[in-house]
């Protein structure tokens, strides 16, 4: 397959994951609403919000970096997604996974958030600045157990390539990392709770304290871009976790089922808990998940 075809299919799969990520967002809002005893918004509400945000007629900018914030964010989201194989064994849905490994993907996860922090900082609103500092502090904290878990995987499979990690988990479901290296999976899933920004780790975007967090000043199409990224980045994260810990997927149905249930973990926890303070959540991340990660690394390095 030549490069042009590759790019063509990568964009198709990007479209698929965007739609699925946004639909998942809609489903999640619906589930939250049902837990709270109401009907909730329609499942397609995130799409309408994006259209609405892009159809706003005026937009206020605060400078070049302010423009670039959402661009960095979506670049981070697309970058994360582009180096993950979506369907194992499929020539069409493998993106550029042969050229990058899990470290590159982790870099892109960081990249988007840092770019967003720069852009939001230029917004000039004190809430943006406070929320950026909290968000980056919390992000650094949850990257620790996630990184430990990835190191443990690298020791286990003797590779950093996601495709090879998925290949090693094929065969029976007992080959999944979930069963072969449960400690690393638990550490990484707790880190994912932090990444998804649902309760109890939602302080950064908490409306009651520092409303909305970094995107306080973002409006109109900037917000539309950020909402689109929520679909892409959310989908990419789920696909990454599925690949690393849950044996990947060989067809789209498997992908949809697995990512849905991975996402539901955040939802179940999120609906039942209040949120941590920043320092409490950092303390939490650096305690139990980090300990689990270290144990799993030690287990496979000895």
């Amino acid at each position: 397959m030549n490069l042009a075809y590759k790019i063509f299919w990568a964009f198709i799969s990007l479209g698929v994951v965007t739609v699925w990520g946004l639909t998942l967002n809609g489903i999640v809002h619906k589930i939250f609403a049902r837990v709270q005893g109401r009907l909730g918004p329609p499942v397609w509400q995130p799409f309408l919000d994006i259209i609405k945000n892009n159809s706003i007629r005026t937009a206020i900018s605060h400078g070049v970096m302010f423009y670039l914030g959402p661009v960095f964010r979506i670049a981070g989201g697309i970058g994360t997604y582009m180096f993950i194989p979506v369907l194992f064994g499929s020539v069409y849905f493998s993106n550029f996974s042969m050229s990058g490994d899990v470290l590159l993907v982790m870099y892109f996860i960081f990249f988007g958030q840092l770019g967003m922090a720069l852009g939001a900082g230029e917004g000039g609103h004190p809430y943006s600045a406070i929320a950026v500092s909290r968000g980056l502090a919390q992000m650094t904290a949850f990257e620790v157990p996630f990184a430990l878990s990835v190191i443990s995987l690298a020791l286990q499979y003797k590779t950093l390539s996601i495709t090879e990690i998925v290949a090693a988990q094929q065969g029976s479901f007992l080959n999944w990392t979930l069963f072969t290296n449960p400690l690393a999976v638990i550490a990484a899933m707790i880190a994912m709770l932090g990444m998804n920004m649902y309760n109890p780790f939602s302080l950064v975007i908490a409306p009651q304290e520092i409303p909305i967090g970094p995107p306080t000043e973002y409006q109109a199409s900037f917000l539309g871009l950020l909402a689109t990224n929520r679909g892409i980045f959310g989908g990419a994260k789920l696909v990454l976790f599925m690949n690393l810990y849950f044996g990947g997927a060989t067809n789209l149905v498997e992908l949809i089922v697995k990512t849905f249930w991975i996402y539901m973990l955040s939802v179940f926890v999120g609906a039942a808990y209040p949120r941590f303070r920043t320092e409490d959540s950092i303390r939490f991340f650096l305690k139990y998940p980090t300990a689990l990660g270290i144990i799993s690394v030690l287990l496979f390095s000895l």
Binding site: A33, R38, Q45, D49, R57, P207, P211, I212
Partner: protein, 232 residues
């Protein structure tokens, strides 16, 4: 109490006491700049002094589609300006649940399209309402709930509440009653949706069109005007 009676935006033109003057008011330098007189001298550089311009519309077909999308995703500014805010809580919870209609409260004016004026507006709040309204990005809509926002209501002789909110910001839909029931407010929101779909809720452009008139009214009651003439 609380009859469900929704009025269309009364044509403000017919009620204008003074038509917008062709010349420049004393607080405007020229056609495109604002004086920002209320600001101290050293702060004037920090604020934009451009006069807001009317927003362009797209082609009618696209505009119709966008209007439909706008009507399906109204984000309310979470600003409880008066007693009417108490009915906002039942509205977002399970009994009435406005999220069914694609509406959600939004804590920052930058991301909200709809401001709900909940009842009486004191002068101190009016200043914040004007500020929040101008910070919202258009097309933006205003729903005035409770009688007090329409004609002063119970507080018709109070020294600290304005009697007509439509002199200070353009209002799309009024909901009468003291308190209007949540159903009445919901009906008001549905009416607003119809107006948006029909392309009649152009409050943002109306505000820009009659900018001088609105500003003069605002400055008449807000005695300590210490903010820029237009809050970008």
């Amino acid at each position: 109490m609380s009859d469900i009676e929704i009025k269309d935006n009364p044509d403000i033109k017919s009620e204008l006491q003074t038509p917008p003057e062709p010349g420049y008011s004393e607080w405007r330098k020229d056609e495109n700049t604002l004086y920002n007189d209320g600001l101290p001298e050293e702060e004037k550089d920090w604020f934009c002094d451009a006069r807001p311009q009317k927003a362009r519309k797209s082609v009618q077909v696209i505009e119709n589609f966008l209007n439909w999308a706008r009507s399906q995703s109204l984000w309310i500014l979470a600003f409880g300006t008066g007693c009417g805010a108490i009915e906002l809580r039942p509205l977002v919870t399970s009994r009435y649940d406005i999220s069914r209609l694609g509406m959600q409260p939004r804590p920052t004016p930058r991301q909200a399209n709809l401001i709900m004026i909940g009842g009486y507006v004191s002068i101190k709040t009016l200043k914040r309402i004007v500020r929040s309204y101008e910070q919202m990005q258009g097309p933006k809509f205003v729903v005035a709930v409770c009688s007090c926002a329409i004609n002063g209501g119970m507080y018709w002789d109070s020294y600290n509440t304005v009697k007509r909110i439509d002199e200070y910001i353009p209002v799309d839909v009024y909901v009468t009653g003291c308190m209007p029931r949540p159903e009445a407010v919901l009906a008001g929101f549905n009416k607003l949706k119809e107006l948006i779909k029909a392309g009649k809720a152009e409050g943002q452009n109306l505000y820009i069109e009659r900018f001088d008139w609105y500003k003069e009214n605002q400055k008449k009651v807000i005695k300590d005007w210490n903010m820029p003439d237009y809050n970008w």
